[in-house]
């Protein structure tokens, strides 16, 4: 039940330990870390993540709430960075803790799939042809659709 939007890196071990600390009702903790990949750009690649302060936090809270309504969860966490990021750097951390492992896996997968199509972030990538705005990928939309309920 926590979301954070920040420029700085985060410590995955510390963040995950905090979720389960002093608790004995959690049987399963699934986490996802998204990292900047190097696509072989001369000069090293990297990107700048723009976001919409205010709306970003609102959307991340909404994504988290949706997960809490769908699965039996003991704790959740989303941390998303913005600003300049080099290849190999962490971009995002999603985590879901539950008494049961299927719920932890599904909820964590949901968190990242859902935020990818909802949270207002935009990647400006360094390419050999200069900086380029990343285009939304159809497969991210497909991944998110998998979680859609109702008609």
């Amino acid at each position: 039940m926590a979301i954070r939007v920040q420029r700085e890196d985060f410590d995955v071990g510390t963040e995950l330990a905090r979720l389960t600390e002093k608790r004995t009702d959690i049987g399963a903790l699934t986490s996802f870390v998204g990292l900047v990949r190097d696509f072989g750009t001369p000069g090293g690649g990297g990107m700048t993540l723009e976001h919409y302060p205010g709306m970003t936090e609102k959307e991340l809270v909404a994504v988290e709430r949706e997960a809490l309504g769908r699965w039996e969860l003991s704790a959740t966490l989303i941390i998303h960075r913005y600003g300049r990021l080099e290849p190999g750097e962490r971009i995002v951390l999603c985590a879901a803790a539950s008494p049961h492992r299927a719920a932890a896996f599904e909820a964590c997968h949901f968190l990242i799939d859902w935020l990818k199509t909802r949270a207002p972030f935009w990647k400006l990538e360094d390419t050999a042809q200069g900086q380029k705005w990343v285009e939304a990928r159809a497969e991210d939309e497909t991944a998110a659709k998998r979680w859609r309920t109702g008609p």
Binding site: Y52, M55, H80, F121
Partner: protein, 83 residues
Amino acid sequence: MKVLWFAWLRTRVGTATEEVALPEGVDTVAKLLDWLATRSPGHAQALSQRAVVRVAVNQSYATADQPVHAGDEVAIFPPVTGG
């Protein structure tokens, strides 16, 4: 009304934020986009492909027929690419 532009829409419009006075009759998201497109060639270009334009009113996703008011914060941006 405060209008915010993000990512490549911002680049085309040439500004991140503008204060606009809504003309009479501009009372939905769709009408707002139509009107904003008349403000400059950059605006027109940014809004030429409506399928890749997303709108948030007061920081929540909005549909084309959603009402807009003078005091609203309206953000216009391409499909998101975070995560």
